[in-house]
Assembly symmetry: C2
Homo-oligomer: 263 residues x 2
DNA sequence: ACACATTAGTCCTCTATAGGACTTGACGCT
DNA sequence: AGCGTCAAGTCCTATAGAGGACTAATGTGT
């Protein structure tokens, strides 16, 4: 017999804390979380999972469908079930994305790292991330949209979990999307987010970097990134300077694709 | 035999264009859209739907679950399946909501109508709404958050569909949430949205109303509201002036509740 | 009055089974 | 080499049936 990957779930029709399909999806999620399968990996076939968990096919299928709804896995007819990778997330547009007017064309976006530090400072990021040792990696970057519109972005991550990241060279970090990198290299895909916005004067440091007048107002956009089980993994603050050009920030919504509307 | 509400779906296991569970959910959605059942109404029981559609229980259940995922209906164990009403949407927080720092407390929000007109002007709203006769209802309001922070909001609706609305007195419109009213009185719940943001100088008219300096920058937030089948029903533009106070605008995300993070 | 049991109505879970549909690669024929 | 067929592997759809669990209303006994 092959090495089983999942133990059978306890408690059949009754006497169990939760529904069987729920237990199964939980169990698979835990395994993915633990790195048992990495993004892009193929999961065992339905019938095999059914055999391993001692559930019937329909129950396993329901569990897998719920994982699809969570954005954790993808299923492809005739091919198999796969752990959602970074590439997949990009298409789902669950998160955000810079966009331009005139159709739904994405604009090229370039990143330039302006600093990487570790800090013990507390702030809204520590409140959100809640790292065990109170240490955070703080990376800031200049984001250039289509070479004509700049945005300043800073991101905090818990140092304990992403310590390797601090050791990566800036060259490695440059030009890549953080979401993709966290998903691919740290098994920490951003599956959900909490956001707030405000219109405030840009801090001197930021206005200097962006080349706008000191005290100029801008959008301060905070995005708390969540991974499996809504565990917080990133705290990001984006400063958006004024633009009379019709460049906008578009955010995708639950169902369906993002769709730009020109102002 | 009782008057059936849904014809049996054609094409059984094969030969049909779509899956049976899909056909069933489509059919129920159409009925709801057509006003066959109104928000708050109870749908027939599972087994009755199964009998009416000629499908098995499991298939009907799957169809209903997909409608739940769409936010169209709600199911309550032991009670029944109900068309999602305005009140339900409010809890789901699919849309947006003004929020304050210090916990997750919602701030009281007051609306004051500053104008109601019908217009044939074209603009981004007409592009989004695409009314058949090119006529739109244009309503603008001053929104006051907790009596200390004002926002200007204007909303466009297709005149053909919401003609009754123009005849409502301003008194009727005052103080109510548009989302709730559209859901309750027009069977047009906002189930999804498309959004864009930009930081731009506030138009003179708006800065005057909000009592800020002419030319002051603010967030220009555009929300295209979608109802059943992602049909566009509202085009809303919100002007948010600067605030050094920690009042933020929070937007809920796909899974889970909104959660404020103080700046 | 009040507490408790019963019952009808409803949704929820799960099973075992059957066949369909899609993808991929191997095989055999031209 | 190129093409078509076949088969294995996988997910997709659907069924009939059984029992469980929750809700609300009704009836019963103290």
């Amino acid at each position: 017999m092959p090495a089983t990957t999942l133990r059978p779930v306890e408690g059949g029709r009754n006497g169990s804390p939760k529904a069987k399909h729920r237990q199964i999806s939980e169990r698979i999620l835990s395994a993915i979380e633990a790195g048992r399968w990495l993004p892009g990996d193929q999961l065992p076939a339905e019938d095999q999972l059914a055999a391993e968990t001692g559930a019937s096919l329909g129950t396993v299928q329901r569990a897998l469908r719920s994982l699809v709804a969570m954005g954790v896995v993808e299923r492809h007819h005739g091919k198999g079930t796969f752990v959602s990778g970074a590439r997949a997330q990009e298409q789902q547009l669950l998160h955000f994305r810079f966009m331009a007017e005139g159709g739904t064309q994405l604009l090229p976006v370039y990143f330039r790292i302006t600093g990487v530090e570790t800090t013990r400072e507390s702030g809204p990021w520590s409140q959100f991330l809640d790292s065990s040792d109170g240490e955070y990696i703080h990376i800031h970057r200049l984001v250039s949209v289509n070479d004509e519109f700049d945005v300043f972005s800073e991101i905090y991550l818990p140092a304990d979990r992403f310590s390797e990241l601090a050791r990566l060279s800036e060259t490695t970090l440059n030009g890549v999307s953080f979401r993709d990198m966290l998903a691919e290299r740290f098994n920490a895909p951003t599956l959900n987010a909490r956001q707030t916005m405000a219109c405030q004067p840009l801090p001197p440091r930021v206005s200097r970097l962006l080349g706008v007048m000191p005290g100029q107002y801008g959008i301060v956009w905070v995005i708390g990134g969540l991974s499996y089980r809504d565990a917080p993994i990133t705290w990001q603050r984006i400063f958006v300077p004024p633009s009379d050009r019709v460049i906008e920030i578009v955010q995708a919504m639950p169902h369906g694709q993002a769709k730009a509307v020109s102002l």
